[in-house]
Amino acid sequence: SDTTLTIETSIPFTAHNCDAPSRAVETSPSELLTFYRDMAVMRRMEIAADSLYKSKLIRGFCHLYDGQEAVAIGMEAAINKKDCIITAYRDHCIFLGRGGNLVEVFAELMGRKDGCSKGKGGSMHFYKKDSGFYGGHGIVGAQVPLGCGLAFAQKYSKDENVTFALYGDGAANQGQLFEALNISALWDLPAILVCENNHYGMGTAEWRAAKSPAYYKRGDYVPGLKVDGMDVLAVKQACKFAKEHALKNGPLILEMDTYRYHGHSMSDPGSTYRTRDEISGVRQERDPIERIKKLLLSHEIATEKELKDTEKEVRKEVDEAIAKAKESPVPEPSDLFTNIYVKGYGVEAFGADRKEIRATLP
């Protein structure tokens, strides 16, 4: 039966220039089961991407999200698809959270036609505009003004929705973030800046890059909230609070205290600038999936066996998606010249040898 459960967040919120929301979060058995499953899919997907990368089926950059799943899932639980999300390059799970599917993820990672960007974007450039996901951006910090622009457009269009602009603790020091926040505050834009603080910008610890790593306070005149980003219920509560706040009062900063288990990207073993003990400590004490698992068991919503079965299903689902994605063809050579413009006016575009390859832009 789907009753309402009230569960207390792991730790209290820490507020800056605002009153913190209650620690008591409303949820339900079915929501908790969904959280468990969805986070397990994300975890499994990222681990599978790691293997595909190592077997050279994925090229270039690949930034994995395992460890941070509660942020994507908790945020989605508080908002709808008319709210916008924009993020940086660690975007696979945000795409999945917005309703993207596994085949689109793996096909894009492998540069195939059925990828969410038809193989033209790659790991860092996933989008799902029909459910309010605006990418997938490769330049650290640039997505924050873009997100504030989405919020501007929502307000301009009188849509009662908000934008969540995600960035890491590394990007938190970018000048353009403060430029956009200032304008957002001046214009009361419904923009929520979500700092996913995983404590390392590549290999630089937060305190080595930020004079003040209290990112929720860095907006000065803009209110902020520090949230346990490993607790999906805390994230949900914070995002619900943030949406209401932003629609009424303008921007807000949410600092999600989270952790990435993988290195920054595939070229980073993630062990030169932090200790293995630190990583295993977080896994043991704060893992977002384990937290939900414990709740499911202690509230007798599911048994160990049922959760094991879910894990098996998830594994199968991921494996099947990979098999399907592998069958997807690579893009046509002619796709080189599509989507450069919406309207190309029939002008010519040239390949490397313009006497050999040229195309008329539609």
Partner: protein, 334 residues
């Protein structure tokens, strides 16, 4: 009609026609525009659609691009294009590439506009032409109006276009008046993007130019005419897409080419035109291509040096004569 009034009326008409069009930038509202291009628009459309921003180009250009992702049609004014360097990442990486990277999901209907190129006596950091910079980037369209007709027709085309457009005006042309036809004044008037205009027909030598240099090229053509050289002057209007076919057709007729621009010579617009003509019309050339461009130096302040740093009418005349194998005076050595 002045170029200023042409730009102002184009903005006004497009804002009136489409509620998704808005203007943002430094001093566009209460100050009425640093160069008065947006005069009266705040009163008419209100602060929701004419937005004064702080002096933070990366911030407001990024906000403009994000608003375009959502489907609005922002016109972002840079007080001058020199300041667009603070925001060039959003023009190149956020605006120009999103439609491609998203396989057509995220289009970016935005216009970045403002004065470009050298003004008078403002020194190196405020005197630079960005046509070649932006035109080198696929995904952008780059327009360079010269006359009032260009300014009206191209700005309206830029605002209506579904892709990001860099619209390069020239401060020294804002106050210049041009005769305009009734057709140009009609609110439905619009010019095609990617099409050059033959400003003056001729048969002896082709001169390509854009923005302020079109006026110089026309003056040079008058002088050349007195000496029996009939020059064809092409106003490029659009740097990307570049109207290669009009340029090549003209060169095939005249067999001679002089390119004119204010920008730096290396990797410039003239260099690209020269390459195109060599590739497409090599067999038609009767003389080496001549390039007239800004001097390969940061812009100096002193009036005499500044004059030496940018093309003058006599430079164009001399180059055209060289292309026509007419005797010219020996060049002065610096």
């Amino acid at each position: 009609m002045t170029v200023r009034d042409a730009l102002n009326s184009a903005l006004d008409e497009e804002m009136s026609a489409d509620p998704k069009v808005l203007l943002l930038g430094e001093e566009v509202g209460e100050y009425q525009g640093a160069y008065k291009i947006s005069k009266g628009l705040l009163d008419k459309y209100g602060p929701e659609r004419v937005l004064d921003t702080p002096i933070t180009e990366a911030g407001f250009a990024g906000i403009g691009v994000g608003a375009a992702y959502y489907g609005l049609k922002p016109v972002v004014e840079f007080m001058t294009f020199n300041f667009s360097m603070q925001a060039i990442d959003h023009i190149i990486n956020s605006a120009a590439k999103s439609n491609y990277m998203s396989a057509g999901q995220i289009s970016v209907p935005i216009v970045f506009r403002g004065p470009n190129g050298a003004a008078a006596g403002v020194g190196a950091q405020h005197s630079q032409c960005y046509a070649a910079w932006y035109a080198s980037c696929p995904g952008l369209k780059v327009l360079t109006p010269y006359s009032a007709e260009d300014a009206r027709g191209l700005l309206k085309a830029a605002i209506r276009d579904p892709d990001p457009v860099v619209f390069l005006e020239n401060e020294l042309l804002y106050g210049e008046s041009f005769p305009v036809s009734a057709e140009v004044l009609d609110s439905s008037f619009c010019l095609p993007i990617g099409k050059a205009k033959i400003e003056r027909e001729g048969k002896d030598v082709t001169i390509t130019a854009f923005s302020k240099m079109v006026g110089f090229a026309l003056k040079a053509a008058e002088i050349l005419a007195k000496e029996g050289i009939n020059a064809e002057v092409i106003n490029l209007r659009s740097i990307r897409p570049l109207d290669r076919s009009t340029i090549n057709a003209s060169v095939r007729k005249t067999n001679r080419l002089v390119t004119v621009e204010e920008g730096f010579p290396q990797h410039g617009v003239g260099a690209e035109i020269c390459a195109s003509v060599i590739e497409e019309s090599f067999g038609y050339l009767d003389a080496p291509v001549e390039r007239i461009a800004g001097a390969d130096v940061p812009t100096p302040y002193a009036a005499n040096l500044e004059r030496l740093a940018f093309p003058q009418v006599e430079d164009i005349v001399r180059a055209a004569k060289r292309a026509c194998y007419r005797s010219v005076q020996v060049a002065a050595t610096a």
